[in-house]
């Protein structure tokens, strides 16, 4: 069977007692489509390579932004004793909005289109302003 892509690795199929006979039929049907030319040569490998290429298309800035977002997540775990619980709650609420804003900014930057970015930033700022207005008094 034609398949030039990197094979995925994984543990053997578990929990199945005896291979289902349908599996052999499915393998044969797929192989026949390859042999007959219904599927273009290298189709599966090309699909895998295409995704790898898409996944690799990330700037250093995006990687750095991802790391900073993860740092913010880690730093946002406020566990407080009873006297400080209310403050921790407010901090957590604030950080949640901030994190959401930053995550959207990261996505917007990844879109790499200035007009779209500008529109999304405006929208986000409006959303944050609305949330701020609706937040209960601290």
């Amino acid at each position: 069977m034609e398949h030039r892509g990197r094979p995925e690795t994984g543990s053997p199929v578990e929990g199945v007692t005896g291979a289902d006979p349908i599996l052999a039929e499915l393998h044969e049907a797929a192989a026949e489509r390859h042999r007959s030319g219904q599927y273009p040569a290298g189709m599966e490998a090309d699909l895998g390579d295409h995704f790898d290429a898409v996944a690799a298309r990330r700037s250093h800035r995006q990687v750095r932004l991802d790391l900073l977002l993860s740092s913010l997540d880690e730093a946002s775990r406020f566990d407080a004793d009873p006297p400080c619980e209310e403050l921790a709650r407010q901090l957590q609420a604030h950080t949640r909005v901030l994190r959401e804003l930053l995550a959207e900014l990261v996505d917007a930057l990844a879109a790499e289109r200035a007009d779209e970015l500008s529109a999304r930033v405006d929208l986000l700022l409006e959303q944050v302003a609305r949330r701020g207005a609706a937040a209960p008094p601290g």
Binding site: E14, V16, A30, Y39, R77, R89
Partner: protein
């Protein structure tokens, strides 16, 4: 005896949180039982208290206290909490995705997973026993040096989901052909790109009217999500739909509209959606790695390779072959009886008694 549960995080629509809430009534057979969360519980999760409340609760009048710790992606805080405490501890292990699968999309999360594995390993002399959801997870833990490992699947009451009344469908895309579905958060271990590749082959060569609906939380692993969205756009597949997380009502609607459930995950510790699909009579096609083959058993088409052409062939066959669908549905009914909540609950109680003996 009091048996309380400790979550690292309590989140809505989260399998670990749901497992803890489903266990609570069973644990109350032993005595008082509550669920506590190390991080502040999400407001969407009722009846879970912060862990500070556990320490402030009145001392039990007599008898022993046991804590059931549910595994998560990071346990450092809970491990510190357990240090020097007198309670016996049971570990409810939900599996741990392989860090390598996250490395290129979320390297920091990959590091967290590596640390989590070491944190779990460090607990092997602290816990009295382990309850895992699958034999695959049990083998994983035995490999880390754990003993007294019992396998009990999640206590999921599928009738609650199947009884959800039909919704207005507003959370779901409009579809005008066969619907292929997967349910699971957008994360590299769920291998959404393999689902998209299989769908590309299906749509292009075998079933031009098909739709692929990918339901699941998309807040995490933003780089992976962006790559998937870009990939779908470049493959020109407008009939791939990302719905985000769904309410139970919308999830039930999705299953009712689904013609095939396709799972190409590289790692699953159990995969509750496989059982949910069976409960709705949706035929399952799945790559049988990690715990997936074990969960599906003979009630689905279990693939031995994650090849797009093979998966597409299997989906097309299920769509075209009514006799195969009927056979799978009959096997799924039998499989569902093994996951019946009452029966699993009895197994759970017996396993806890055996581990604590």
């Amino acid at each position: 005896m009091e048996i309380h549960q400790v979550l690292v995080r309590a989140l809505p629509a989260n399998a670990v949180t749901k497992d803890a809430l489903a266990l609570r009534p069973l644990l109350r057979r032993f005595g008082p039982s509550e669920v506590f969360s190390f991080h502040r519980p999400d407001p969407g999760v009722p009846d879970v208290a912060p862990l500070g409340a556990y320490e402030r609760r009145p001392a039990p009048p007599s008898g022993e206290t046991v804590l059931v710790l549910h595994s998560w992606f990071d346990h450092a805080g809970v491990v510190r909490f357990l240090e020097g405490r007198p309670e016996r501890v049971l570990l409810r292990y939900h599996g741990g995705a392989q860090p390598e699968q996250f490395e290129r999309f979320d390297p920091r999360f990959a590091r967290t997973l590596r640390a989590a594995r070491e944190e779990i390993r460090g607990l092997r002399h602290r816990v009295d026993g382990v309850l895992t959801a699958s034999r695959h997870n049990a083998d994983e833990l035995r490999g880390l040096g754990f003993e007294r490992v019992a396998v009990v699947p999640p206590v999921e009451d599928m009738t609650a989901l199947t009884a959800e009344p039909p919704g207005d469908g507003s959370a779901l895309p409009a579809t005008d052909g066969p619907v292929v579905t997967f349910v699971g958060r957008l994360a590299p271990n769920k291998a959404h790109e393999l689902l998209i590749q299989a769908f590309h082959v299906l749509k292009t060569y075998l079933c031009p009217t098909a739709h692929l609906v990918l339901a699941g939380e998309r807040r995490f692993h933003a780089v992976y999500r962006l790559a998937l969205e870009r990939y779908v756009a470049e493959l020109a597949l407008p009939d791939v739909h990302f719905t985000g997380g769904l309410t139970n009502a919308a999830l039930a609607d999705l299953y009712r509209r689904s013609d095939v459930f396709l799972c190409m995950s590289r790692y699953e510790g159990f995969c509750v959606p496989l059982v949910e699909a069976m409960a709705f009579g949706v035929p399952v096609v799945a790559w049988g790695v990690t715990a997936v083959g074990e969960t599906v058993g003979d009630a689905g088409v279990v693939l031995d390779e994650p090849r797009p052409a093979l998966a597409a062939e299997a989906v097309a066959r299920v769509l075209a072959d009514a006799a195969l669908r009927a056979r799978l549905r009959a096997r799924a009914d039998a499989r569902l009886r093994e996951f019946d909540a009452a029966a699993v609950g009895r197994r759970m109680v017996a396993s806890i008694e055996a581990v604590l003996r």
